[in-house]
Amino acid sequence: MKHTKVWILVTVLLLAVCLAGWLLVLGGRAGSATAQIYQGGQLVRTIDLSQVEQPYSFSVDGPAGGNTIQVEQGRIRVSHAGCPDQVCVQQGWIANGVVPIVCLPNELVIQVGGDEAEGGLDGVSG
């Protein structure tokens, strides 16, 4: 009987730990869209898009003249770029992780993660 009580205690404790872990994981996801900006393979900036109150811009240097990145609440885009193809500018705003913004000449990648708009997906084929 004593053993049973110990096991129940252990189980309850583990339950609590797991629950806390789950809440942390889920809480990190719910309602927050985080943009990660990579240049030359390095993560250079992380922005919680849900926390952006005033729109702002900043520049990231790159081998093809760099990129100017504009941020508003819930979305992000490349507003100007020195690259010849301008593919990154033409893509416009992104607000979810379905398609990242890529500027190959400037080695720039903008990914958005942790967004409810993705409907609990592990990834997108496209």
């Binding site: 053993h3 049973t4 096991w7 129940i8 252990v10 189980t11 583990l14 339950l15 730990v17 797991c18 872990g21 789950w22 994981v25 990660q36 990579y38 393979g41 993560l43 193809d85 992104i94 607000a95 979810n96 379905v98 398609v99 990242p100 890529v102 190959l104 080695e107 990648v109 990914q111 708009a117 993705e118 409907g119 609990g120 997906l121 592990d122 990834g123 997108v124 084929s125 496209g126």
Partner: protein, 335 residues
């Protein structure tokens, strides 16, 4: 004792539910003209990711048609090349797919692709006469693989762009397995490939991009599969109000006109999924269904311009139209 067993069972269940806490390692890199996102779980993940990145660089260096130092570029210049094992293996697999699709996939279409300006993004609509001449050089049957060296006939040029990312996915899954990784996910510029089940033990939930927008239109659930999509929306240019997409029909030399917006292939093989997503886009709905009936190594999702989504029965379980897909009709093709 019964209580003890129950408690132990509960414990095991709880531990299983804690699985998302497993170590997750990710890497983002630019290679093969696209962004690649690699994720591996568990203690072996970190080292495996390093090796996976080196592998991608190696494959890109061998296979890029636009890199003058690659084996493919040397072949396209008419040189005799001692093929490296990866190029040899991929050429074998690609030529098999060209044959199986009766040339709807043709890896010798590069002269035509260049005439349209897709490799260097200097887009133009080629002169019809010039196009007809270039088409005479297009026929995968001219690539005679025997032994370890290859020389292409004059004027024949290869482009492995329709299969190289798929092959890279296969090689990465193999590398992960050998490293002891049991759970991994890669997205190679829209080519998704997953090893095992997702970290919580359920199948991976993979969205399929809406060809008409920036969201997704369906979800497919997979374990140990590649999920590869081809569509004109991925690369195109406009001239005089006409949109020209990058998937060219090897029969005509013009962008494929098959009433489809996108084709997604689900298969254990990344190379096959990659190559067939292009081929089925060219073949259209009827050709796609016929090929599926003749084989047992893939399933498909066809998004039609008429607002119909057609899937093959093998992926019916766990498939759902979602998001932008709620406006589409779903059809299931059965054997």
């Amino acid at each position: 004792m019964k209580h003890l067993t129950l408690a132990a069972l509960g414990l095991a269940l709880l531990l299983a539910s804690c699985a998302p806490a497993a170590q997750e390692y990710t890497a983002t890199l630019l290679a093969m003209d696209t962004v690649m996102e690699l994720t591996a779980y568990g203690p072996e993940g970190e080292g495996a990711l390093e090796e996976a990145q080196a592998l991608i660089q190696e494959l890109e260096g061998l296979m890029s048609a636009t890199d003058p130092d690659s084996e493919i570029a040397a072949l396209n210049r008419g040189q005799t090349v001692a093929l490296s094992p990866p190029v040899r293996e991929l050429l074998d697999q690609a030529l098999e797919l060209c044959g199986a699709t009766d040339g709807a996939l043709d890896i010798t279409i590069y002269p035509v692709v260049r005439a349209w300006g897709f490799p260097n993004k200097q887009y133009q609509v080629p002169d019809p006469g010039a196009l007809a001449q270039l088409l005479e050089r297009v026929d995968y049957a001219q690539v005679a693989l025997s032994g370890d060296t290859l020389t292409l006939p004059e004027g024949v040029e290869l482009d492995l762009g329709a299969v190289a990312k798929g092959y890279a996915g296969d090689r990465m899954m193999e590398l992960f397995r050998q490293s002891g990784v049991t759970c991994a996910y890669v997205n190679l510029g829209g080519n998704v490939q997953a090893l095992g089940a997702s970290p919580d033990g359920d199948p991976w939930r993979i969205g399929i991009q809406d060809p008409e927008g920036t969201s997704y239109l369906a979800v497919v659930e997979v374990t140990d599969r590649a999920v590869v999509t081809s569509g004109m929306y991925q690369r195109y240019f406009e001239q005089d109000g006409v949109r020209y997409g990058h998937i060219l029909d090897p029969d005509t030399g013009y962008p494929a006109d098959s009433a489809l917006s996108s084709v997604t292939i689900v298969s254990p093989s990344g190379t096959l999924a990659d190559g067939l997503s292009t081929a089925l886009f060219v073949l259209g709905r009827e050709g796609a269904e016929a090929l599926w009936r003749a084989r047992d190594d893939f399933d498909f999702v066809l998004v039609g311009q008429d607002g119909t989504v057609t899937i093959s029965e093998g992926i019916e379980d766990g498939f759902a139209l979602q998001g932008a897909g709620e406006d589409y009709n779903l059809e299931v093709v059965r054997r």
